[in-house]
């Protein structure tokens, strides 16, 4: 049954990614098709997660691939908040290919199957995985907004703003949304790390490379919030810092998962 929902979700995300590319060239119908692709894909993936949760007697997304599946759903959920607005369709160009690609990786890693006995499951694990993934989804969206900021700034610098004038979000809006998304995601990451350490304390395990990198990620985003809100940083340097934080997220999410999930 899980497969029954997986493929529609994958196809819809893929269609949205292609349609967003088409919308960038010829705005209009392609943009609307993309938006519906996101909505239908999200519904199918929600059904997939519901089936996984219904079949499992524990936390079904505690494996690396499973957590990737949940992560994709969180990213698309966060994207849906703005993504359906015409002005933010360009953000879909960054988010939807990523969502389709990562969902495929999750499928190849076995993270989209319905597993009856996922191995282990405690309240702290659920909190840890859920909160960290929600935070990472927020950071991913913030990175998409930051990339859109750089693209917009480049167009303005090169005096090529005329064609899409009024159809894309302003620099100030993009920067403010990036900062707000990070400001919301950072407490979730903090709580997720604390929950992880509590669980680790009970099991007696030692700090691994992924945990160290997650702490470094936290430091970068905490610095961003401090500099942006306390010291008044604005513009490209704040945006570069947000993207630096996302580089850590990519490493944590994709490059160092083996030791931690083992």
């Amino acid at each position: 049954l899980a497969e029954l929902f997986l493929w529609p979700a994958l196809v819809a995300y893929g269609e949205a990614a292609v349609a967003y590319a088409g919308n960038a060239l010829h705005p209009g119908l392609a943009g609307r098709l993309a938006t519906w692709g996101v909505r239908l894909g999200w519904l199918a993936q929600t059904a997939l997660l519901a089936v996984q949760a219904g079949r499992s007697d524990g936390f079904p997304w505690s494996s690396w691939a499973g957590s990737l599946n949940l992560f994709v759903w969180l990213v698309v959920s966060a994207y849906l908040i703005w993504g359906c607005r015409t002005r933010y369709r360009l953000l879909g160009l960054a988010v939807m290919p990523l969502a389709a690609g990562l969902l495929l990786v999750a499928r190849l890693g076995g993270g989209t199957r319905a597993v009856e006995h996922p191995g282990y499951s405690t309240l702290f694990l659920v909190l840890h995985v859920g909160l960290v993934l929600a935070a990472f989804a927020g950071f991913t969206l913030a990175a998409g907004l930051a990339a859109l900021y750089l693209w917009q700034a480049r167009r303005l610098k090169r005096h090529r703003a005329g064609r899409l004038l009024g159809r894309t979000p302003s620099l100030a809006t993009l920067e403010s949304l990036t900062a707000r998304t990070i400001a919301v995601a950072l407490p979730a990451l903090t709580a997720g790390i604390v929950a992880g350490f509590v669980r680790q304390g009970t099991s007696g395990a030692r700090l691994d490379a992924l945990e160290a990198m997650t702490l470094a990620t936290w430091v970068v985003y905490a610095a961003f919030v401090l500099l942006r809100y306390e010291l008044g940083w604005r513009g490209r340097r704040a945006i570069y810092l947000a993207l630096a934080g996302f580089a850590f997220v990519v490493v944590v999410r994709l490059a160092l998962p083996v030791t931690h999930f083992a």
Binding site: P27, Q152, L156, K157, H159, A161, G162, R163, L165, G166, R167, T168, P169, S170, L171, A172, T173, L231, G232, W233, R234, G235, R236, R237, A238
Partner: protein
């Protein structure tokens, strides 16, 4: 009843003619009122680009002659002078034309927004009845729909609005943005007003002479500033708008670079509408500074107009659909009196036959009333639908005549269409 339009516009008449025929607001309404009298509907749309008289009359030829005469009289022309540039349209063509006008498709700048308000004003000042009511509502709806469903009116069409739109791309809505105005010319004043219309505050006006700065600052609600003190404001301003007649740069790269540290990365949008230029082009290379000169702005306007023209095809389709709705409604008017007469005749027969029935109890009479009414409704439903369908095509009048003949219906007494002012 025929819908008729007589008028002229920028497409057929030079400004020397248009300015003489143009009627200020109340005069257009008065012309419509005089022209309508008590037997026609009329509305007059008069702007700097067009003067058009819309009317609904029984005798279209007579109304056309009267309309030409009324426009000539209003303009102080002889009929022979004006007649060659006047266009005349009837029914579908006139309806489509008004829908296009309301959508801005017949304007000099496609999609311009002012015309929609002017069409509404013409309607409100007119002496309208059911046909013009319907026509103007349909046209206003078409105008709004085109603006909502296409991007035809989104992009700026002038240098001043392009500058304001670009500032919007940097700062979003401009409320809370501080504008520093250096010097003042016509374009910079218009640009300042465009920025203010989007919520920006003109905080300072700088000029070589402080007295002149005071003079310029007053109407804009700004503070005057001497030209050598602009560095203080540069650290706080969001937009710098320059238009002096200075032969060299008023602001160079080093001067702007000196205040960047204080801005903490906050963007600075600079608009240079002066020729020769006031702002060193090297400023554009500084982090967070976006400099647009007059050529850049004109390029934006040209691109924007091209993008408006690309939207025209979609807008034309919307307008055609709305005009078609009006046409279908207008055609249905031909059969409405026949349908009304047919139903009235049937009801008359039903009531007469029921009154002949004797010896029925109240309950039986109620049942008979209900049954006969239902039979009548069912019997007349299909002919009514078919008549309306025929009216939407070209056969409405033929079908209406056939119904009158078959059921022995007399001439319909008017359709209750009386103009209102």
């Amino acid at each position: 009843m025929t819908l008729l339009l007589v008028g002229l516009s920028h497409r057929v008449a030079p400004v020397e003619l248009r300015e003489r025929v143009a009627l200020p607001g109340p005069q257009a309404g008065e012309l419509a009122h005089r022209f309508a009298g008590d037997r026609r509907e009329a509305a007059c749309l008069s702007t700097c680009n067009r003067t058009e008289l819309y009317t609904v009359a029984e005798d279209a030829d007579e109304a056309e002659r009267d309309a030409v005469e009324a426009l000539c009289l209003a303009a102080g022309f002889g009929a022979e002078e004006l007649r060659p540039v006047l266009y005349r349209m009837r029914d579908e063509a006139a309806a489509l034309h008004l829908c296009r006008v309301a959508a801005g498709l017949d304007s000099m700048v496609p999609g311009e927004g002012e015309i929609l308000g002017q069409v509404r004003a013409a309607y409100e000042a007119g002496t309208t009845g059911p046909v013009l009511d319907r026509l103007f509502h349909q046209a206003l709806h078409a105008g709004k729909k085109v603006r909502a469903e296409t991007a035809i009116s989104e992009s700026p069409a002038s240098v001043s609005s392009a500058a304001a739109a670009l500032a919007g791309q940097v700062f979003g809505d401009l409320s809370g943005c501080r504008v520093l105005l250096i010097g003042a010319g016509k374009i910079s004043e218009l640009t300042a007003r465009s920025l203010a219309a989007r919520g920006a505050a003109i905080s300072f006006v700088a000029n070589r002479s402080l007295d002149r700065a005071k003079q310029l600052a007053r109407p804009l609600g700004a503070e005057p500033l001497a030209l050598d003190r602009i560095d203080e404001e540069l650290g706080r301003a969001d937009v710098v708008l320059s238009s002096t007649s200075a032969p060299g740069f008023v602001l160079d790269r080093e001067r702007v670079e000196g205040v960047l540290a204080r801005r903490k990365g906050r963007p600075l949008f600079l608009i240079d509408v002066a020729v020769p230029r006031d702002l060193d082009p090297a400023i554009d290379g500084l982090e967070g500074c976006y400099l647009y000169d007059i050529d850049d702005l004109e390029t934006v306007v040209a691109e924007s107009l091209a993008s408006r023209r690309r939207e025209v095809t979609q807008a034309e389709a919307i307008v055609a659909a709305e005009a078609e709705r009006f046409r279908a409604w207008q055609s249905s008017l031909e059969v409405v009196p026949a349908i009304a007469s047919l139903r009235a005749r049937a009801e008359e027969i039903r009531v007469a036959e029921l009154s002949r029935a004797r010896g029925l109890s109240d309950r039986e009479r109620q049942a008979a009333e209900s049954i006969t009414a239902r039979v009548l409704d069912k019997l007349l439903h299909l002919p009514t639908v078919r008549l309306k369908e025929a009216a939407a095509g070209a056969d409405g009048a033929v079908y209406a005549e056939a119904v009158r003949h078959l059921f022995g219906l007399g001439d319909d007494a008017g359709s209750g269409r009386h103009p209102r002012q």
